[in-house]
Symmetry: C2
């Protein structure tokens, strides 16, 4: 196990009707709120109305930034920073999924940054101070509700980059699984794939000695496998929705990665797909993951894939090791198919044209990962295999 410093300061209010704590919690930070959200779903579901009611009854003033995109744009971040500055905002409340939350996080950091806000995405070290942010989660996927990172897209430069800061964790997040009852099947599927990818990125690691982290990662993977399809088939199944929602937060809040060398290479590859084609993040991850696994499988990594097959998929440990590994990868691919996710890039409109450019850009900060380090050529091979 590697040395680590653990700090997960976000408070979580989890369960039905937990929105009841909103006014009291907001008031710990002030009474002027920027409400950040995406499309109209929170209006259709009644959540927007509920929050407005709470604010009005509690003498909390609020300003709004609607229309955050699924891959949130730096232009939207800039708008948010302006609203905060003009209206002396005390706290930013993101209501939605990971995109909305990520956007809110970078607005909060941008508030204290004098230059072009894209700078603090490109170079997180330029982040110095952050407005308090909080979230009301409506989608189990990115885990942004409990972590200190954010991903922002710049369409002008076709870049999608991750940024973060140790103080970027939301102060509190309200997780009411019933808010995810109305999430459509394709988004539930993509969200589940996103959660699983976060776990894979830290599970497949060279740090074998992090036994307890590895077993916890398997626990979370089994949860996704147990409930992903169920949440699609029975959208109002509270047990499924609550387990997926809590797993989305635990998957990336640090619990699984503290003490380990981590990978993040599939995310690195996928960010280019989203940057160039504006596709759904979780779909890109689900398509790439089995191909990355096949590419990463070798004599050095074999035992880890066997561990995965036996502990997560219940495969017989006494079989041939390579057979177990291939079978585990096959099961992974099949699982994503049962969720209704496309399994090739072509199905989502991505052809060969930009693969080389994307492969180069994916590795512009250096090789991806360390479990199986990927150069541009490796990334290109994986993209091609995924066509």
């Amino acid at each position: 196990m590697l040395n680590f410093d653990y700090s997960i300061p976000t408070k979580i209010f989890f369960g039905r009707n937990k929105i009841e704590v909103l006014a009291e919690q907001v008031k710990n930070y002030g009474s002027r709120v920027l409400l950040v959200y995406g499309g109209g779903s929170i209006k259709r579901s009644g959540l927007y109305g509920k929050i407005v009611d709470i604010f009005n009854k509690s003498e909390i003033s609020f300003f709004e930034l609607p229309g955050v995109e699924p891959n949130p744009r730096v232009t939207t971040v800039k708008k948010g920073v302006e609203i905060c500055r003009e209206n002396k905002i005390d706290i930013i409340l993101a209501v939605g999924g990971g995109s909305t939350i990520d956007c809110a996080k970078v607005i909060a950091a941008g508030y204290y940054y004098d230059g072009d806000v894209w700078d603090i995405v490109v170079d997180p070290r330029k982040i110095t101070k952050i407005l308090p942010i909080a979230t009301v989660l409506t989608l189990a996927a990115t885990g942004s509700e409990m972590d200190a990172g954010a991903v922002i897209t710049n369409l002008a430069t076709s870049e999608k980059l991750g940024t973060g800061h140790k103080d970027m964790n939301p102060k509190f997040s309200i997780l009411d699984p019933t808010y995810t009852f109305s999430v459509p099947a394709n988004q539930t599927a993509a969200g589940t794939a996103d959660i699983m990818s976060h776990i894979f990125e830290v599970y497949f690691s060279n740090t074998n000695s992090a036994f307890v982290q590895n077993r916890m990662a398997e626990a979370l993977l089994k949860t996704c496998i147990n409930y992903g399809k169920k949440a699609i088939d029975e959208p109002e199944n509270y047990e499924a929705r609550s387990n997926l929602m809590w797993t989305s937060s635990l998957a990336i809040n640090g619990l699984l990665s503290y003490g380990k060398e981590t990978e993040w290479s599939v995310h690195g590859m996928e960010h280019e797909l989203s940057a160039f084609y504006d596709i759904t993040h979780g779909v890109g991850l689900a398509i790439l993951t089995p191909h990355w696994m096949e590419y990463a499988l070798n004599d050095k990594t074999l035992n880890k894939f066997v561990e995965y097959g036996v502990n997560v998929w219940g495969l017989d440990a006494s079989g041939d090791k390579y057979e177990i590994a291939h079978s585990a990868i096959k099961k992974t691919r099949e699982f994503f198919v049962t969720l209704g996710i496309p399994s090739t890039l072509k199905e989502i409109g991505i052809g060969e044209e930009k693969l080389e450019k994307m492969a180069n850009q994916a590795t512009v900060r250096g090789n991806l990962g360390s479990f199986k380090p990927l150069e541009a050529e490796d990334v290109l091979n994986i993209y091609k295999a995924s066509l």
Copy 2:
């Protein structure tokens, strides 16, 4: 999954040489420290000298409360409160295992309480405010380094009671697994049994829908099973010591219990053994646990024991359910025996004399647990089976 409010504010500095953060972290709270510790082991190991050096170099003044007992006494807490008041202490640093940390926690709460400090043990609602506390951990066992509870013994009344407060979490804890290299075999064994008991108390629950918590509990149990004996056989095995240390914190910091109805009945029964006989907590737990399991096994709880046997001990799921359950309990008992822990109360000097009195006292606050609710008579039966 039940509703819950999650807050785990303790910062953890984990790994070799993490003591290097001590001065900087202490100074976030002030420069006057009460150093609380137990016997001479931290002097023999050199840790005491290292801390004194750090304080001297950093102009941190410190006062000392040595001699905290293995089952910390309320009389020692009182001494600590007096030292804090006389010397205007800013922060209490507990260096040791759970007993030392628990003692420091109640000193920190007692500092702000005007009456007899035993009152705030008997009735935690009387705790209003708490001095900052921090810990340097030297034993993987109680998890007190990352939770908000404490257990204190009153020998005058033969009572051992738990107390706690939402702000009682240490501000930070330094977990260097090498500090546990010198822990003797019997304490390593008792510590491992204590960790496992914390997990059992939340794992065996009526809340079956808390799937992700249940799978994480199994992950932690497997870690204890994988490394308990190894840490005894190879006391300087860093992998074993680090996994056990981190598991001790995760087992009881809330991660496994949030969202669940929990049990705590074996702890309730064991506290009476320690209160009347001053025995090692983990040894009492290990003796009682398999007998509690047999007593709790019935048609209603059967599936949970099967889940335990299959997922934790790898038993064949296709067998007879009661056979799986009994076999899982047998494996639990045998595991404690491989750690060298006595398996009967008689071996540790406890006879029939006080069993009835202890059973009555164990249930004085009401029945124990809800998975299998225990009245005084049930507790007595379990004590007798454990003789």
